[in-house]
Symmetry: C2
Subunit: 220 residues, 2 copies
DNA sequence: AAATTAAATTAGATATATCTAAAAAAAATG
DNA sequence: CATTTTTTTTAGATATATCTAATTTAATTT
């Protein structure tokens, strides 16, 4: 079962929305994620359903099938491997890689991905800290919590951001926070939820609850 | 002026056929090169003409424009850089790279190609010995002649093949001829044009005129 | 529960890219 | 130079992917 590029993009969006905790994925949600109109989504859902990568009942809802999930995971695997390549080998900044990886993820060649994986030394996480599924679609993710849910004096490591808009990524870069940074919570302000953290045992940083809740960490 | 992937492929084929020595490029030639039907070619020629990458007069013929040539050269540049990447970095064999490079050549990101070029150390030739155009479309190619046109006792180096079909490439590999091999012409048979060559000062090889005329060499 | 609002789908259009079959133009042949 | 053959183009169909506008279904409100 081969998917077109558009179908791959829809399926990836559906997978992300399904995993995003939401109970059901709506046509509007998908339209928002893909930057398209609900009418186009309805059309595509019918096609994806015919290809059996989703189960779909009109006006009711949809569910991604096991084979659909596997296909989505392989696309995600390719996307994240290419991101590692761009950052590690071609000196891209971690907030510049998304668009190019969106194109590269659709290249079809199992051998290419196998070799790329080896060339990059089998990375387990992409430059944003997101886990890279293996060739069987298995993801070994560490438990991650929003920074604002850590307690005072706890230490951990930034592993990802929820909102990966270029604007937010640039903001993080500017204040000196980055994926992989080791942090310690120095203080939490009760009434507004803002936090004060120590980055790499050197720099003190103050951030609003809005910002802190967008940063995901693993505790150590 | 942005081209679709199909348009890029047609334009590249037209460029190759134009450079291939032939005085005029026919609809049938293009259909053969692209693996499509003449009717589809006619349609596409109209579109390429509208986008001003070719000049086209129905039933008469076509000419690639300067801007068309530049676009084709950039696609070829990308294709060949990716081939170098696949062979040098990912251990692909030189007869395995074409299909994947056909996909990778359509990735749009000037920065990516700039960085890839640097990462590969600004290669001037691809794994088949074909020259890589620079970012301005300039190609510095060495004078190349078919192997069967060399004279007895002359020495040189294999730099490319005319017919790069997988079958032919595998044949070459099998007999021990490869891009970069240093050769010396030991004998030429007048009546059938076949040649006997010494490869890397070790191995003696006998080949028909058909094979020899498909192998391009630079003399030294 | 009827009326209103929101969400989702269908109908119909457009654009790309392809095909087969038919028609037109150019080239080759007797 | 008229006829045949080849080449090329057009006409009409199909498939993908998208849109706007209209319709249908579901959810919400009164």
């Amino acid at each position: 079962m081969d998917l077109t590029i558009a179908e791959e993009n829809y399926l990836k969006a559906i997978y992300h929305l399904s995993e995003g905790g939401k109970k059901s994925v709506s046509t509007n949600d998908i339209a928002g994620e893909i930057q398209t109109k609900p009418a186009s989504v309805s059309d595509m859902l019918r096609r994806l359903s015919e290809k059996q990568v989703i189960e779909y009942r009109k006006y009711y809802g949809l569910q991604i099938t096991e084979s659909g999930k596997q296909l989505a995971l392989q696309t995600i695997r390719k996307h994240r491997l290419w991101e590692v390549f761009l950052v590690d080998k071609l000196q891209f900044a971690w907030d510049e890689v998304h668009e190019v990886a969106e194109q590269l993820e659709h290249i079809q060649s199992p051998l290419l991905i196998q070799r790329l994986d080896a060339f990059l030394n089998y990375p387990k996480f992409d430059p944003h800290g997101d886990p890279i599924p293996d060739e069987y679609g298995d993801v070994r993710s560490r438990p991650r919590i929003p920074l604002n849910e850590m307690n005072i004096d706890q230490v951990g490591q930034i592993v990802a951001v929820k909102d990966s808009s270029a604007a937010f990524l640039r903001y993080l870069d500017k204040v000196g926070a980055y994926i992989g940074a080791r942090i310690k919570v120095l203080d939490k302000v009760e009434f507004d939820g803002s936090v004060e953290i120590l980055v790499d045992q050197k720099k003190t940083l103050f951030m609003s609850k809005d910002v802190a809740s967008n940063i995901l960490v693993v505790q150590s």
